[in-house]
């Protein structure tokens, strides 16, 4: 049904790797500043040019506040990812009731032939975000 196009694997891979320099801009002899535009691209989040400065200002002040954590000596402290004591949950692999296709598609904003979720072209030149 679907025809797989050829694509440049290396190029896609390069884009997917998050590069340190991408989220910070460093000018000569200055403290690096956060590059909100790059972070927004990583988060697949469009930010209007008009509000970019405001986000920039907020992010800088929040990150400056969060830098408070740097004054602690955390050598040898184990990180806590979760407060509950997590354990593996085993269960028999028995199939149960699930949602129908109709229910699952009910909230999809755009369908094709009432049963396929519509997705625009997947492989293309980088978008404008």
């Amino acid at each position: 049904m679907f025809q797989h196009g050829l694509y440049n694997n290396t190029q896609l891979h390069r884009k997917a790797v998050i590069n340190t320099e991408e989220v910070m801009i460093k000018k000569n002899n200055e403290e690096p500043i956060i590059d909100v535009g790059s972070i927004a691209r990583l988060a697949r989040l469009e930010i209007n040019n008009s509000s970019l400065d405001e986000f920039q200002k907020d992010m800088e002040s929040i990150v400056k506040y969060v830098d408070l954590l740097a004054e602690l000596n955390l050598d040898g402290i184990e990180p806590t990812a979760h407060s509950a004591e997590l354990r593996n949950i085993w269960r028999e692999d028995i199939s149960g009731e699930s949602f129908s296709q109709e229910e699952m598609l009910k909230n999809a904003p755009l369908l094709i032939e009432d049963e396929l979720i519509a997705v625009p072209q997947v492989v293309s030149e980088e978008g404008s975000c």
Partner: protein, 490 residues
């Protein structure tokens, strides 16, 4: 029936005695809601037909002696972040403006199994991110004590709906104080259960390792009743934990009237801080005197890493949020941008259109702290600080049974008064550590500030699975506090 002061338990008694039917009760609450909503705006959706339909079914069950529980027919409002089959679930966001739930959250199944009436969806800060309800994409909710002030957040609609008697009880969610802070601002009771006590299945995730659903009620007894109903291990949430069959309603009934033998910890980092409002300080001191006069042993304790809690929280919570909110892609549900030719643009524009400012801010911060090269400096560091905060509590609970503090550093502020996001975050100073540690805490109204006529809430914090302890202390304090009733004039 005095509708502006009607508790869940008193509605239950009226139904059992046959003095009222669910239909008559729900009709009264609907009339009250119609009258007050133009001013308070606690609700996002109310489906009157659906409410009356549920009430009629409940009455039929009761008439045939088939009532599902004592609480069959009692209405409850639900924060718009918890899925109720067939109802909208907008999370206060434009992103989910046209979303309709296809399933019930586990807590909703549990309420239905007791016959409770699902009475409308309450307003909230978008995706539970905020402390004032001003971040709702629809409209802010106003505090019934002073309509120019905020009701708190993010469960501000839930707290306001209980406070002004539109419903006897509500369910909210608490990630960094979102049940307790609005409860304090509105003069009602708010409980954040131990992480894992209540199933999160069907709760739209903000920060999965911190989120818990909790009751907002008129009194401590109702809080215990609702906790009994909603708690328990759930195969659909593998972080829900098994608990002993504790009946919290019994804890309340057997609470007695004395705090003899109970050690209450007073953390100096919470009580001796700059920036604690004078009126709050005054109410806190009165409450401490009261606790002492009731027989409690007051113990000075220290939670030395309190200073770092907000910083650690905003790293961890936003990191988890940036991952959780990645699901809003414009494809399977939610806002979808139009006239888009490629997938990347569809993601970016749909998310740009659907999310409000605070949500964007937190996604950006979360993406930043998780990005390669900054993970160790922020996210890993914050997780280590989380360990220290947990250890602070563990050590403190060796010396005391519950810990006491104010719920908020200041009374409810005016709508529009706090515009700097960081200042807004700092308002969560007393509630956030409990979520990081995974412990439980309850906010109880303690006082009314004379000059401003605004309520003050105090908080009792307990160890993990220590709800019996905090409910008992909260109940005894509630029975003996100087001000008996917290009813706004509206």
């Amino acid at each position: 029936m005095n509708i502006n002061n009607t508790s869940l338990s008193s509605v239950s008694e009226l139904l059992i005695s046959g003095k009222e039917t669910s239909l008559s009760i729900c009709t009264l609450f609907l009339e009250r809601t119609r009258e007050l909503e133009p001013k308070v705006k606690a609700f996002l959706h109310i489906n009157e037909e659906y409410i009356l339909e549920q009430a009629a079914e409940s009455d039929e069950r009761r008439m045939n002696a088939n009532a599902l529980s004592k609480f069959d027919g009692v209405p409850i409002s639900i924060k718009d972040v918890i899925n109720v089959k067939g109802e909208p679930c907008t999370c206060g966001s434009k992103m989910l403006k046209s979303y309709n739930s296809i399933y019930d959250a586990t807590v909703i199944e549990k309420l239905r199994s007791k016959g409770m009436i699902l009475f409308g969806r309450t307003n909230m800060d978008e995706f539970a991110m905020g402390s004032s309800c001003e971040n709702s994409a629809y409209y802010p909710t106003n505090n019934p004590w002073d309509l120019d002030r905020v009701p708190g957040g993010s469960s501000g609609g839930s707290a306001a709906s209980v406070c002004c008697g539109e419903v006897p009880a509500s369910l909210g969610s608490d990630t960094g104080g979102s049940v307790r802070q609005p409860a304090a601002f509105c003069g009602v009771v708010g409980l954040k259960p131990t992480y894992g006590r209540v199933s999160r299945y069907g709760l739209v995730a903000y920060a999965s390792s911190l989120d818990q659903i909790g009751p907002i009620t008129r009194n401590v007894q109702d809080s215990a009743i609702l906790l009994d109903i909603i708690s328990g291990e759930d195969p659909k949430d593998s972080t829900s934990l098994p608990d002993a069959d504790c009946c919290f309603e019994d804890v309340i009934n057997n609470a007695g009237d004395s705090l003899n033998g109970i050690r209450i910890g007073l953390p100096k980092e919470y009580l001796e801080v700059e920036g604690l409002d004078e009126d709050i300080k005054n109410s806190v001191n009165k409450t401490i005197d009261k606790l002492k006069s009731l027989g409690a042993e007051l113990v000075d304790i220290s939670l030395p890493h309190t200073k770092y809690a907000i910083a650690a929280y905003y790293v961890i919570a936003t990191a988890e949020a940036s991952a959780n909110l990645a699901r809003f892609d414009g494809i399977r549900y939610g806002e979808r941008a139009e006239n888009i030719n490629n997938l990347n643009d569809l993601y970016c524009k749909s998310r740009g259109n659907g999310f409000g400012e605070e949500v964007k801010r937190r996604i950006l911060l979360g993406t930043f702290v998780l990005s390669s090269g900054y993970y160790d400096a922020y996210y890993l560091k914050a997780q280590k600080v989380r360990t220290l905060i947990r250890e602070d509590f563990n050590k403190a609970f060796e010396k005391c049974d519950v810990i006491f503090s104010p719920t908020t550093p200041a009374p409810p502020f005016k709508v529009g008064d706090i515009t700097d996001p960081l200042q807004m975050y700092l308002a969560d100073i007393y509630t956030i550590s409990i979520n990081l540690a995974g412990n439980c805490a309850i906010s109880v109204p303690a006082d009314i500030i004379e000059k401003s006529n605004l309520p003050v809430g105090v908080q009792f914090m307990g160890p993990a699975f220590g709800e019996d302890k905090i409910l008992k202390v909260a109940k005894i304090f509630e029975t003996n506090r100087d001000i008996k009733e917290f009813i706004p004039e509206i």
